[in-house]
């Protein structure tokens, strides 16, 4: 079964599980238009742990939005996503995503290849060509003051080896996400194998990698204004069983506390 009519959508929305999102303040992400992860930020859902070796995230992983898998044949959808301004004068936007796998514990001072071994787990709605999957460098503890090039080695969907250079900025901040987009024509990442820094950033810090599938977005919220993505605006993002629902925000500067909610309906 799936939602096929407006009436079914209304039923799903009316009966949706509404989970409040209340996350403590985080400082601005590099101020360069990149996402700030709320994974390790205290609040509701609670802070997730900094990962070690590559692991699949699920709804049972601390940090995920709790929800119960529906009965067989029924699908869970995002029926609403709300972002409050959080008391900042700066605008912000937020995405909800299914955190598929993550890993951490990499050092900003090691210049040899560091193992990543990140892959897309099964049964999480990844398309066959993986074109709905996004890959990020995620910083857990701020790195040093020297910018470096990080060479990310991956296997593409044709099982060929590839690599792409990512710039690690000066004082790469905790919680910042850097999108990894291959520069080799035709390449789509299937797994990330290793990464190698061009030199030391000066501080070990801690960083890792995350792959995710976006399930909804909510637009800009100024000050204390609330922005609601409901019905059509959520585009009914599909939430697979066991999904690890987490959030990331975009904002201009300073710090931001994130308040809002997510609605999960079934049909």
């Amino acid at each position: 079964m799936a939602i096929t009519t407006v009436a079914q959508f209304q039923n799903a929305a009316n009966g949706a599980l509404i989970t409040p999102i209340m996350k403590a303040s985080v400082s601005n992400a590099q101020n360069n238009g990149t996402f700030t992860s709320l994974w390790t930020v205290a609040g509701n859902p609670p802070a997730g742990a900094v990962p070690g070796a590559a692991a699949t995230c699920t709804s049972a992983t601390t940090g995920a939005v709790p929800f119960t898998n529906p009965a067989g044949g029924v699908t869970t959808y995002v029926t609403s996503l709300v972002l409050n301004g959080g008391g900042t004068s700066a605008p912000g936007s937020m995405i909800a995503y299914d955190r598929l796998q993550h890993m951490g514990g990499l050092s900003g001072t090691v210049t040899t290849a560091q193992t990543v071994n990140l892959a897309v787990p099964a049964s999480r709605n990844a398309l066959a060509d993986l074109s709905n999957i996004e890959w990020y460098v995620e910083c857990y503890t701020t790195l040093g003051t020297t910018s470096q090039t990080l060479t990310v080695s991956y296997t593409n969907t044709a099982s060929g080896a590839g690599s792409v250079a990512v710039t690690i900025p000066v004082s790469y901040r905790a919680a910042n996400l850097i999108r990894i987009v291959p520069t080799t024509a035709g390449d789509i990442i299937q797994t990330i194998n290793t990464c190698t820094l061009g030199g030391s950033t000066g501080t070990a810090g801690s960083f890792g990698f995350t792959c995710l599938r976006r399930i909804s977005s909510v637009q800009s919220a100024w000050g204390f204004k609330s922005l609601n993505s409901t019905a059509f605006q959520t585009a009914l993002g599909i939430v697979p069983n066991n999904a690890c629902i987490a959030f990331a925000v975009l904002f201009n500067s300073g710090t931001i506390a994130t308040c809002g909610s997510i609605g999960l309906g079934v049909g």
């Binding site: 799936a2 939602i3 096929t4 009519t5 407006v6 079914q8 959508f9 360069n32 238009g33 699908t75 959808y77 700066a90 605008p91 912000g92 936007s93 995405i95 709605n125 398309l127 060509d129 074109s131 709905n132 999957i133 996004e134 999108r179 987009v181 291959p182 520069t183 080799t184 024509a185 035709g186 390449d187 789509i188 599938r213 976006r214 399930i215 977005s217 909510v218 637009q219 800009s220 993505s229 059509f232 605006q233 585009a235 009914l236 993002g237 599909i238 975009l250 904002f251 201009n252 049909g267």
Partner: protein, 255 residues
């Protein structure tokens, strides 16, 4: 509703070429990202879903039609995204040749072009930087009454790879049916590589703040209809002179 619930998001992400000037439209056809970079074309060819560089999707067929159901944009500076069905393209023209150069570009069938072709746009597309001398180019076309006319367009100095220059007839009543040839008034100083592209617009989105995700949902997107074999192509209007990374979500719904 069923179509919206059944489809998933395509995670698009594109890097622009270096140093695009502001207030001009740029093609992301040949730049890396997702979808992957397309090849620089040679002689005129129809673009399809199977053409490298197009957004991959499988047309449901039968009684189902495909539409843009959701489109979001985020960028590192203010930018407007425009997504087209790239109908046909050609390249390999020289910025130093002052003789007439053959184009032979026309609109392919079965791609939802209206009978009067008023929903088709024509662009000069730069694939490799041209020289520093701006030139006037005379474009020869056949209009929808099968009459040949010309229009002069400006090729700016140091036209960057990716630059799109819209070709709009100046003869009253003319709509382009095919572009026949082009002749530069003088050399730009560098051969570079350019060509022409015709396309049908599907959806647009404006990221009006660096840290804002602009959302065009199923209603505000206008539900641009996507024909079978469509070659979805990303372009953007630049607001500043810098390399730009753009990304977002696209949901193609079918029903």
């Amino acid at each position: 509703m069923a179509a919206l619930a059944a489809a998933d998001f395509y995670a698009w992400a594109k890097n622009s070429n270096a140093v695009p000037a502001s207030n001009q439209q740029y093609s992301l056809w040949a730049t890396n990202g997702s979808p992957v970079a397309g090849a620089v074309p040679g002689a005129a060819a129809t673009c399809t879903t199977a053409t490298t560089g197009a957004v991959p999707f499988t047309y449901a067929g039968g009684s189902s039609l495909a539409y843009v159901g959701y489109f979001t944009t985020q960028a590192l500076q203010l930018a407007c995204m425009v997504v087209y069905d790239r109908l046909a393209h050609m390249g390999g023209l020289s910025g130093t040749s002052v003789a007439a150069q053959t184009v032979s570009l026309s609109v392919p069938g079965s791609r939802l072009a209206s009978a009067d072709l008023t929903n088709v746009e024509w662009y000069l597309e730069v694939y490799s930087d041209l020289g520093s001398s701006g030139q006037t180019a005379t474009v020869t076309y056949v209009n929808t009454s099968s009459v040949s006319h010309t229009v002069g367009i400006t090729v700016p100095g140091t036209a960057r790879a990716g630059l799109l220059t819209r070709v709009i007839p100046t003869v009253s009543g003319d709509v382009i049916q095919s572009i026949t040839s082009i002749q530069l008034a003088g050399s730009t100083g560098t051969a570079g590589n350019f060509g022409f592209t015709c396309a049908r617009r599907l959806v647009q989105s404006a990221a009006s703040n660096m840290n804002e995700i602009d959302i065009q949902d199923v209603m505000s997107s206008g539900m641009g209809q996507i024909p079978n074999n469509a070659c979805l192509w990303f372009t953007f209007l630049s607001s500043g002179a810098s390399t730009l990374t753009m990304s977002g979500s696209l949901k193609i719904i079918q029903g």
